[in-house]
């Protein structure tokens, strides 16, 4: 099965079945006697016919074409690919968590509500916020929720002319996209040469039309913005609010809190910071924390307590409404809370410490081989700017990434942040050993040397993967997004 190449549809054979249901135990009737014929589909369903072993082998073979965290090192900058503990998978599958209907009566869901309430408290403590909604489904969804809260705040005060959100040029693309989705105009401000917010540019940008500033701290370059208090002051003095993008929260847990820095609203990426699996692209979870001034606008329901009983509280007359069905990704909340209980206050702080140590260690070992446009100490990630002397060999960041595949690694994030030429963004996380880091460093150095001695080897990488540089231009031009047989 080494060269397994089939699509599930190509295994189909008429007459096969991979399921069995109990026989119907009531008097059988024709569907058309129950539902008018005009609504009933007379055609066969266009679905494959398989037996169970085929299904299992097919998806097992597909899984073997994937590289997961359990396969190896995954230093994707900004994505915080830390180990996904197995106990989290177990707890999320507990009968009392997995088999609960969201609309069961309140006395039947006390365990779920207690878990949500305790998770909320922990997340508030870690971020220094007053309340937190667990409803958003992902980081980008949390961002949108947070910006809607900012909007609701200004509207409630009758401050209608605030129509601009300020975003630094180092921001994640979702920040301006989110602000645009919430109906705001974007004001982009340039970073200083050290990659931090340019205070003069910020002062020039704020005004009575400023709704808020969206900031990641440490920023996408992995640098902590020392001017954060002054930034907060400038924005608050102008009447705006401060939004914290929690993408890089893994750098500072137990060391600094956005709430103490002056942020009014914060979103987490649970799937990054609190170790819930990325699942090949989801499901994530993006809780949003706020200071007291924004609590009234939070989406409903919130979990509150009356006496000894938890309940779903819809009594928030100024709420922005709802952003998601039911209450959010409960299964992900169970995993995150399991992680928080396991790590504890000491483990969580230690995790951030080790994440920062690992990133700086890599930086110290690779800066002789790769450009370090901002030569300083980093937080949880480091951004290189391609190979030193790469103009000679013309080996690009993409080539380096593809060569890393040959050497058995998931490459770092590439070409982001946009403000760094040939960016290679490395975030090792705390769950990698020194041995793993040393081997990765060796691989990166090997590539740097190959780029000089045999650039073509790197430029034509990868050489030993199942497929090699699939043609993305062709995919976008000759759209083929559905199997046609």
């Amino acid at each position: 099965m080494r060269n397994y190449e089939k699509l599930i549809f190509e295994l189909s054979k008429p007459g096969r079945k991979a399921y069995m249901l109990p026989p119907l135990d009531i008097e059988d009737k024709e569907i058309k006697d129950l539902i008018p014929a005009e609504f009933v589909n007379d055609e066969e369903l266009n679905l494959p016919e398989l037996f169970e072993v085929d299904v299992i082998r097919h998806y097992t073979n597909l899984s073997n074409k994937n590289y997961g965290l359990d396969t190896g090192f995954y230093p994707l900058g900004s994505c915080t690919m830390k180990y996904n503990p197995k106990i989290n998978e177990d707890t999320a599958r507990y009968d009392g968590f997995a088999n609960i209907h969201p609309l069961q009566p309140e006395d039947c869901i006390q365990g779920s509500l207690q878990l949500m309430s305790e998770l909320e408290k922990s997340l508030c403590e870690i971020a220094g916020m007053d309340r937190m909604t667990l409803q958003p489904a992902a980081g980008a969804h949390g961002e949108l929720t947070g910006i809607m809260l900012v909007k609701a705040y200004h509207e409630d005060r009758g401050d209608e002319k605030r129509n601009k959100i300020i975003v630094p040029d180092s921001a994640h693309g979702t920040n301006p996209a989110t602000a645009a989705m919430a109906g705001y105009k974007i004001v982009e401000i340039k970073s200083t040469k050290d990659g931090l917010v340019d205070l003069e540019a910020l002062k020039a940008a704020v005004g009575d039309d400023t709704a808020g500033l969206m900031l990641t701290n440490p920023n996408t370059l992995g640098l902590f913005d020392r001017g954060i208090k002054e930034i907060a002051q400038i924005v608050h003095d102008a009447g705006g609010l401060l939004y914290y993008d929690g993408a890089n929260m893994n750098a500072i847990m137990g060391h600094a809190r956005p709430g103490d820095m002056g942020f009014d609203v914060v979103h987490y990426n649970i799937h990054k910071t609190f170790s819930t699996p990325h699942g090949g692209g989801g499901p994530g979870s993006g809780p949003v924390g706020v200071k007291n001034i924004l609590v009234d606008y939070l989406p409903v329901p919130m979990v509150n307590k009356k006496g000894e009983k938890y309940f779903l509280d819809y009594d928030y007359p100024k709420t922005i409404g709802k952003v998601k069905d039911f209450y959010g990704h409960f299964g992900i909340m169970v995993r995150a809370y399991t992680y928080i209980l396991t790590m504890g206050s000491d483990g969580i702080k230690r995790a951030s410490t080790m994440a920062v140590l690992n990133a700086n260690y890599i930086m110290s070992k690779l800066k002789d081989y790769y450009n370090l446009p901002i030569d300083t100490q980093y937080m949880h990630e480091v951004v290189f700017g391609g190979l030193k002397g790469s103009s000679l060999s013309e080996v690009t960041t993409l080539d380096i990434a593809k060569r890393l595949l040959d050497l058995g690694y998931h490459p770092p994030t590439i070409y982001f942040p946009l403000i760094i030429n040939q960016a290679l963004m490395i975030e090792p996380t705390e769950t990698e050993s020194k041995e793993t880091l040393d081997e990765f460093i060796e691989a990166m150095i090997q590539i740097a040397k190959e780029a000089e001695s045999d650039p073509q080897l790197v430029k034509s990488a990868p050489h030993n993967t199942l497929v090699r540089r699939p043609d993305e231009v062709k995919a976008a031009r000759d759209i083929n997004v559905k199997y046609e047989g």
Binding site: L7, E49, I147, K365
Partner: protein, 447 residues
């Protein structure tokens, strides 16, 4: 030492030396003193696996699991049979511990199952293309509205009151932020009032959104509604559907629907107190380049080999920044895998059988329940697996009585539709047996 944190004192010493620092504290020198957090986090210290599992089992046991209850509760989340192999496949860590498939060379597993998922959804709904999934059914409706607005450059959205209340509430929340105008169409006998709709659709209408089977379980006349919707200029007709119903109901693609969305939880996902579930979206050709979220395309690699890549949409860091019409950059990857395995396991015969058994048992329950006249049908319209009845019996009291015999009763419609106070919505899936249905109706009769 913590099980997930490998650095030994010796490692730390060597690493600090390489960096040129003397202590771990110096790693945080960039955090100004007046910002640095100088106390311990106010939460318990690290706990062992045994302590954590004991505690969480205790919390889980405070809930009432459907393993010990017979559920007739639906209203957007359903207790369908989940084949055992679904969880085995989504538990393979090569799937669940991988990131978004940005490096196609080492992500063909994820990319291919998404391509299969898109194909299955497109075929089931009868549409030209489907995306890689969205957060859930409610936000999928909103994304369809936003896409229709961007497509038509208009800002008026019409949605039927028979669409599930949560979804409408989410739409209002987003619409407020985006300055879209939302108009809700009335219902008549439990279905969208087509005459009322006729009076609302104009050339300013960006989208008409309905749900079928709708929140009351009633099958809407999509064909007729679509004809009304298309009286508008460049108006998108959106239908939210229960994918299980497509085992027996006509494909929306054959009924003039432009964009099909829906909640996929019923296809292999546990109820999990409301999430994570699976939103999906399928479109006709005109919308392929407008579709939000991710989409996977087939292509060839350097050696001409069939391979798959993310296509048409920018990756998250580059998402179209301020020009974006959606900020979604993830999908529900693992849930899409669950649905894929579900669809291929049930296959051609199975999905039809699940749909037929659900419909037949729901109609049996309806007949038994309404036989004596104590409970009356709230509406007189064809339904699929869910139906509403009304009576003089207090619905809270009824549900308490049912709980005493381990039955989870229906959804009290008065909660979201004051005009239907006293109405209760019952869902019956293929999992329910005659014995369970008879027990439900006998308690209802006896109260």
């Amino acid at each position: 030492m913590h099980p997930y944190l490998p650095a030994t004192p010796e490692d730390i010493k060597e690493m600090l030396e390489s960096i040129g620092l003397e202590s771990l504290d110096q790693l945080f020198d960039d955090i100004p003193k007046d910002v640095y957090f100088n106390r311990e986090l106010d939460m318990p210290k690290a706990k062992s696996e045994l302590e954590v599992t004991t505690y969480l089992k205790g919390l889980a046991n405070k809930n009432c699991s459907l393993s010990n209850l017979t559920s007739f509760l639906g209203a957007g989340a359903y207790d369908h049979y989940i084949p055992s192999i679904v969880d085995h496949i989504i538990s393979r860590s090569e799937f669940y511990t991988s990131y978004t498939p940005y490096q196609p060379e080492i992500s063909q597993g994820t990319l291919q199952y998404i391509f299969e998922f898109q194909t299955l959804i497109a075929n089931l709904t009868g549409m030209d293309a489907a995306n890689a999934s969205l957060y859930d059914g409610g936000t999928a409706i909103v994304e369809a509205a936003l896409m229709a607005s961007a497509y038509s450059k208009k800002d008026e959205i019409i949605i039927s009151k028979s669409v599930k209340p949560d979804a409408r509430r989410i739409l209002h929340t987003y619409a407020h932020a985006q300055n879209l105008k939302v108009i809700e169409v009335d219902i008549k006998d439990g279905a969208t009032d087509i005459e009322a709709l006729k009076g609302l659709v104009t050339d300013d209408t960006a989208a008409v959104i309905v749900q079928s089977p709708n929140f009351f379980g009633i099958i809407e006349d999509l064909k007729a509604l679509g004809e009304v919707a298309h009286k508008g200029k460049k108006t998108t007709f959106v239908a939210s559907v229960d994918p299980i119903s497509l085992g027996i109901l006509k494909k929306p693609g054959d009924l003039g629907v432009d964009v099909v969305v829906g909640e996929g939880q019923a296809m292999g996902m546990t109820l999990s107190f409301g999430g994570p579930y699976l939103g999906f979206m399928a479109v006709n050709k005109a919308y392929i380049r407008k579709i939000p979220g991710r989409i996977v395309g087939q292509t060839e690699d350097l050696d001409g080999k069939r391979s798959f890549v993310l296509t048409l949409t920018a990756r998250e860091q580059h998402i179209r920044r301020e020009k974006a019409t959606s900020n979604i950059c993830s999908n529900q990857g693992l849930n899409a895998l669950a649905a894929t395995v579900y669809m291929v396991t049930l296959g051609k015969e199975g999905l039809r059988e699940v749909a037929e058994q659900s419909a037949k048992k729901a109609h049996y329950a309806f007949e038994q329940m309404t036989k004596s006249g104590k409970y009356k049908p709230l509406f007189n319209k064809p339904f699929f697996k869910e139906f509403a009845v009304t009576s003089d019996v207090d619905s809270a009291k009824l549900n308490d009585e049912l709980r005493k015999v381990d039955i989870l009763g229906g959804y009290d419609l008065g909660k979201s539709y004051p005009q239907f106070e006293g109405g209760v919505l019952y869902a019956v899936t293929e999992k329910r047996t005659k014995e369970e249905i008879d027990k439900l109706t006998s308690v209802m009769e006896g109260i």
